[in-house]
Symmetry: C2
Subunit: 323 residues, 2 copies
């Protein structure tokens, strides 16, 4: 039984590798770029990057890369057998069996895979903002929305291991088109990407005049970051837009409360740190959006403890559990 494990959070642009002890202490850390255009078979270049990370982290501790358990957190629909079935945000690795490829390359029989948001959920449940809580949902607000569901103390994995794709819950039938092929998915409204889209629409409709002014008067130049910056300076139109994103966030959270009766949400991802307006607005709107709000105990919404490290942290738990 190994004292440490390596967890790698494999994103569309970066791979973050952590070596972590059983008590959650981070022993080593490495961040690398992931290749966009592979020019190899599916997943080969990604595997090469991870092999280098594992070698480097092990060398620092004088450990053998063949003997440390390894967990991979991957974006997309990850089958329990290690096959990445559908990954619109990591197309170069979609369809590949990254776990087996990595195991072969390292001569390591302890390589385990899990969806990245599920990994983040495990980390927050074991060591972070969901510690000791039996019913909660982790929600990661990045370009899209990922998530993980904990019910009665257990991560809900579902039939094939695909559970937690909460960003593709439709909240606006026939609404904005989504990269998944559907329309009106929650992540088109309440994520960083959703903020970007709403910003663009508002600017073109003339609803963000004061922010447009700051961007050389060109509505096409206004980005999500301009709105969060303008809101931080107190510009009312920008504040209104971020509160609108908070309303959409609360709408999806309320749906999860109805289905799962979870009492707690752990929010991660870039949007939660980019603005300190979205979460307070979401908390406020929950009161009007949750069915039977007054009949329930208080619902809490907190930020993740490990931030962008949570996926890699949780991948080590998958490794410890599997090894």
């Amino acid at each position: 039984m190994s004292d440490v494990a390596i967890g790698v959070d494999v994103g569309g642009t970066k791979a973050l590798a952590l070596m972590v002890a059983r008590d959650g202490r981070v022993v080593g850390e490495l961040k690398s770029q992931t290749p966009h255009d592979e020019g190899f078979g599916a997943g080969e270049a990604t595997t090469k990057v991870i092999v280098e990370q594992v070698h480097e982290l092990c060398e620092r501790q004088g450990l053998s890369p063949a003997q440390v358990p390894i967990g991979l957190g991957l974006p997309g629909m990850m089958r329990r057998d290690g096959h990445l079935a559908f990954a619109p945000n990591l197309q170069t690795a979609s369809g590949a069996d990254l776990g087996a490829q990595l195991g072969t390359a390292l001569g390591n029989s302890s390589v385990f895979c899990e969806n990245d948001a599920n990994c983040a959920t495990l980390a927050e449940h074991e060591w972070g903002a969901g510690r000791g809580i039996r019913d909660f949902v982790m929600v990661t607000l990045g370009t899209g929305i990922g998530g993980g569901v904990v019910a009665d103390g257990q991560l809900v994995r579902g039939r094939s291991g695909f559970a937690g794709e909460i960003g593709h819950m439709v909240v606006e039938a026939k609404g904005a088109p989504c990269s998944c092929g559907g329309r009106g998915c929650w992540e088109r409204y309440a994520s960083g990407g959703g903020l970007h889209r709403l910003t663009r629409e508002a600017a073109l409709e003339g609803r963000l005049a004061s922010v447009v002014e700051r961007c050389d008067g060109d509505p096409k130049k206004v980005r999500a970051e301009d709105v969060t910056a303008a809101a931080a300076d107190g510009l009312e139109e920008a504040v209104t837009l971020l509160r609108e994103v908070g309303w959409w966030l609360a709408l999806g959270l309320a749906n999860l409360v109805a289905i799962l009766d979870c009492g707690h949400f752990v929010i991660g991802g870039g949007l939660s740190s980019a603005s300190d307006l979205v979460l307070p607005a979401a908390r406020e709107y929950l009161a009007e959006l949750v069915e039977g709000y007054d009949a329930r105990p208080a619902i809490t919404v907190t930020t993740s403890m490990f931030g962008e490290r949570s996926g890699a942290m949780g991948a080590t738990l998958v490794a410890f559990e599997g090894a």
Copy 2:
């Protein structure tokens, strides 16, 4: 340990009581009206009806009403401690502690309560259309939509016991008003009540001319039953409307697949038996509405095995489990 239990499904208009053996065999059955206007304290008249049912069923078998374990299935947000916290469809009993009242009236210390749709889910899981399936959702299409979630073989109850309120998942932000106080809830589109609403709208907008003709030419007279009857006769406008309800049903099912990765749905309630068009349409639309549909194993949608008896059947399981 008793060989039989009594389960009572307490609805807004009727209470169905079953005496059931451990293997699922129904030993006795009684259906009574539930009082609409009580004129007593909360739940008192309802309790009186159930007391009579229990006495009658026990008398037939020569058993003591104080010694048979009893389960109650109640519509609404049922707290784990037996308190009915919020029940818009059984307002006369809302806020009452029916379990304790019944226990006192019968001198029976084995009275247990659970949400009615959760009861139905337990029955289908133990003996019916969800038997042996580890990840499924039961969906009851009545006036509203109730439901129960089974994840990894366990009924998801949530923090307070309120899980499974799937009908109040919002699928159309700012959509049709709902009795819960919200807007755009799934049950406003895909239930019997949803069909009624869509029927009324379509008739008033002139989209159901051939059905209106059958109703003395008065669009205000057209009811949901007229549409299901007209569809059974092959009237195209009626078929189109029922397929539309099927589309809305599939939309909510697809959301549940995204969140829970359930592979199976058990559909109960009046609407599923009223028309043989809604479920086939829903199955068809799942292919376009489920994220990553082709990457998943087949998703199955079947009707409940116990129909309107499933709630009372499952209430006996709650009684067996608790006793």
